[in-house]
């Protein structure tokens, strides 16, 4: 049965005939507890889709908050759904500016880049447990299901990092890299150095056509 409105075919043959937008929400993961140490999205678990359904995936990070002082946020990926140990190589640039006006600078961060690292890699700098501190940003993962190519990702985040010995500051991190594997990437994990974190991650897929 076709649905026709004002002479326009809205739906037919089991599909909508009009444009519905290409950015599709897949999953919202919200953590409010103060004892959770990782936020994980794995294909096939809890309705998460992270396979060849979409060629591009977008992770939105909202109010990501470290419960413990001075713990860097980190990310990692899995190719087997269990072990987050994919080799990664990437670049890291950062701009930062303290609330007291000091330290406005842009720099390449050799201590934030990574070369064939299988462990978790930097996502945002040390945050503290101040009640209003958090991180926001976006990570894009390109074609994670490919078994031919490495898997590129980029992320841009803004953070109000605090050091225990300095004033609060704005931090903008721009990272680009790749998972150096031809195995499909099936999962993503955000952590805060083994300590508790909370907030919301939203996962979207971008349709191919």
């Amino acid at each position: 049965m076709a649905i026709i409105s004002n002479a326009v075919t809205m739906a037919d043959a089991g599909a909508f005939s009009v444009g519905l937008g290409s950015m599709t929400h897949i999953k919202t993961l919200t953590v409010t507890a103060t004892n959770v140490t990782t936020m994980t999205l794995i294909n096939g678990a809890s309705s998460v889709v992270l396979d060849d359904t979409y060629p591009i995936y977008i992770f939105e990070f909202v109010n990501i908050h470290s419960v413990v002082d001075d713990r860097n946020f980190t990310i990692n990926f899995t190719a087997d759904g269990t072990n987050f140990n994919v080799a990664k190589t990437g670049t890291n640039i950062r701009a930062d500016h303290q609330e007291n006006g000091g330290s406005g600078a842009l720099a390449y961060r050799e201590n934030g880049d990574f070369a064939q690292v299988t462990g978790a890699v930097p996502f945002g700098e040390a945050s503290d447990g101040n009640a209003d501190n958090c991180l926001g940003g976006r990570l894009i993962l390109f074609n994670p299901s490919s078994t031919t190519f490495v898997k590129h990702f980029t992320h841009e985040i803004t953070n109000n990092a605090n050091y225990t010995d300095a004033s609060g500051k704005a931090e903008a991190c721009h990272v680009a890299g790749y998972c150096n594997t031809t195995s499909a990437i099936t999962g993503f994990q955000l952590a805060a150095g083994g300590n508790a974190l909370n907030g919301t991650i939203k996962l979207y897929g971008l349709k191919d056509s």
């Binding site: 049965m1 076709a2 649905i3 739906a11 037919d12 043959a13 089991g14 599909a15 909508f16 444009g19 519905l20 937008g21 290409s22 950015m23 599709t24 929400h25 919202t28 939105e60 909202v62 109010n63 908050h65 701009a95 930062d96 500016h97 303290q98 609330e99 007291n100 006006g101 000091g102 406005g104 600078a105 842009l106 009640a131 209003d132 501190n133 958090c134 991180l135 926001g136 940003g137 976006r138 841009e156 803004t158 953070n159 109000n160 609060g168 500051k169 704005a170 931090e171 903008a172 721009h174 919301t200 939203k202 979207y204």
Partner: protein, 205 residues
């Protein structure tokens, strides 16, 4: 009543049953020699509340009325004034038509606990009729009353006609307030927005 087509349930129980787009156009503002373009929750069809956790403003062909004007943003946090306290970072890359190029932090454009306007662009030309800027700004969870409000903008524009070229501006930071941000205002630091559009989108579930 469910709507079923070719064996697929398209609509049922008051909702569309298949996945639809998550990026929703909320409002388009078009400049016509406008002093400001303001998006205020609840006014003129604008939504800027807890309906969405991420909002994106898209800038299209922003052209100033005055030469060497710089495009700016500010936020309001519960009152009518656009004066939220902000701490931000700023850097840019550029390449002029004369082949001069570079990358660097812009101390002149960052803010430290300031209520002043935040520059998201640099000198733009009013004299060149084909000169304009484009880009986007993301604003995270403005209705939240626990955390600061992060935002990120990237604004690429034709640089002033005294040194024509391309400049790509990256601004990130936060409105250091726990009150909800319910209004966002864009303007040039001098003169008006001659022409251009700003579109507001919500990123939903």
């Amino acid at each position: 009543m469910a709507v079923i087509s070719n064996g697929t349930t398209l609509m049922d129980a008051g909702a569309i049953s298949i996945a639809v787009g998550s990026m929703t156009l909320i409002k388009t503002l078009t400049a016509s020699n406008s002093a400001t373009l303001s998006f205020v929750d609840g006014a003129s069809g604008v939504i800027l509340d807890n309906t969405y956790k991420t909002y994106i403003f898209k800038f299209h062909e922003i052209h100033p009325s005055s030469n060497d004007a710089e495009f700016t943003v500010n936020f309001r946090d519960g009152e009518t004034a656009y004066d939220a306290t902000k701490t931000t970072t700023a850097f840019r890359s550029y390449h002029f038509e004369g082949d001069d190029s570079g990358l660097g932090y812009q101390q002149s454009n960052d803010l430290a606990q300031s209520t002043a306007i935040q520059k998201i662009g640099q000198l733009q030309s009013a004299n060149d009729n084909d000169s304009c800027g484009g880009g986007e700004m993301k604003l995270y969870n403005p209705s939240n009353t626990t955390y600061v409000k992060h935002f990120q903008s990237r604004y690429s524009h034709h640089y002033t006609n005294s040194s024509p070229g391309q400049i790509d501006n990256f601004i990130s930071g936060y409105a250091n307030v726990t009150a909800a941000v319910d209004g966002v205002q864009f303007k040039f630091d001098s003169g008006n927005i001659s022409t251009g559009q700003i579109k507001l989108y919500g990123i939903g579930e």
